[in-house]
């Protein structure tokens, strides 16, 4: 049971129920932990803000900005895609990247979505696959009659999307980090700064009646 008692709000008692389960649910789906605790308004607010930010970033980045490295989890190369460690903070919405990563590690075809195709949360290829015999190339942005060749697919994505790749990455990373705050809120209640209590008279201070003697 957590108490929220800022100076401008009436004192509230919040039943956090099982805080660990609430924190797990809050990670799995942003706001779900709060709904479980009966804090439905905050749950909807967290869901709308965090999931909205995440999917807007994914939309800006054309579905490519959320992906996990195909390197071993405990290797240094895995941290080259450190952004995913932040993005996975949103829980379920970022987990298809893990499925895509595992499929690529096992040399399986990545999952395809109807409109987006196979680029949805798929790690970029380092070597061109069989269906790309010409390698990674895209039209020159200043003269579309020419073609630009890229060393790997990540370079191609950066070239084709320009700053929108970075903007989409920032949106999805911030969404994941915001959900960390929401998880703590589900676990421990709101971070309320308690109002300053009036100072109690010091017991060790000399008795005023003794001064009069």
């Amino acid at each position: 049971m957590a108490k929220a008692s800022p100076s401008d709000e009436t004192t509230l008692e919040i039943n956090l129920k099982d805080p660990r389960l609430a924190a797990f649910l809050a990670w799995l789906v942003p706001g779900l932990g709060h709904v479980y605790q009966g804090r439905t308004g905050k749950g909807i607010l967290f869901f709308a803000c965090i999931v909205g930010t995440f999917f807007y970033g994914l939309y800006i980045g054309d579905g490519r900005v959320v992906y996990a490295s195909t390197a071993d989890v405990f290797s240094r190369q895995f941290l080259e895609r450190w952004q995913y460690l932040c993005q996975v903070g949103v829980g379920l919405p970022a987990l298809p990247a893990v499925v895509q990563r595992e499929r690529m590690r096992n040399n399986k075809e990545p999952l395809q979505l109807p409109v987006i195709g196979d680029k949805f949360m798929r790690p970029p290829y380092k070597q061109p696959p069989a269906e790309m015999p010409g390698g990674f190339e895209s039209p020159d942005q200043t003269d579309r009659r020419r073609r630009v060749h890229h060393p790997d697919e990540l370079a191609q994505w950066h070239y084709e999307q320009g700053e929108y790749f970075e903007i989409g990455t920032v949106f999805t990373v911030i969404a994941g980090l915001l959900n960390v705050l929401a998880i703590f809120d589900a676990y421990g209640g709101p971070l309320v700064v308690p109002p300053e209590e009036p100072k109690k008279p010091d017991d060790k201070s000399p008795d005023p009646s003794s001064d009069a003697k």
């Binding site: 929220a4 905050k42 909205g52 930010t53 200043t142 949106f171 911030i174 971070l191």
Partner: protein
Amino acid sequence: MMLESLELNSAALPLLMAMLGPLRLWYAVPLVTSVSLVCAATRHEEMGPIVIHAARFALWILVFMAIVAAVIQLLTWLQ
């Protein structure tokens, strides 16, 4: 896409990018809104105080961003 239909040459593209540059600032609006609302919601429990706190926090973020942009612009002029 309109950009693809246009035959952009190397002189026109930087000009177009300079014209479109300030539009990119609008991407900050949804980000600032969601960040301020979520941060405010971790400090209050009721919607009224959350919205008031979020408005003050959003203003604080925008002022901070403006100050940083001004410093960077100043450094650019001094370069």
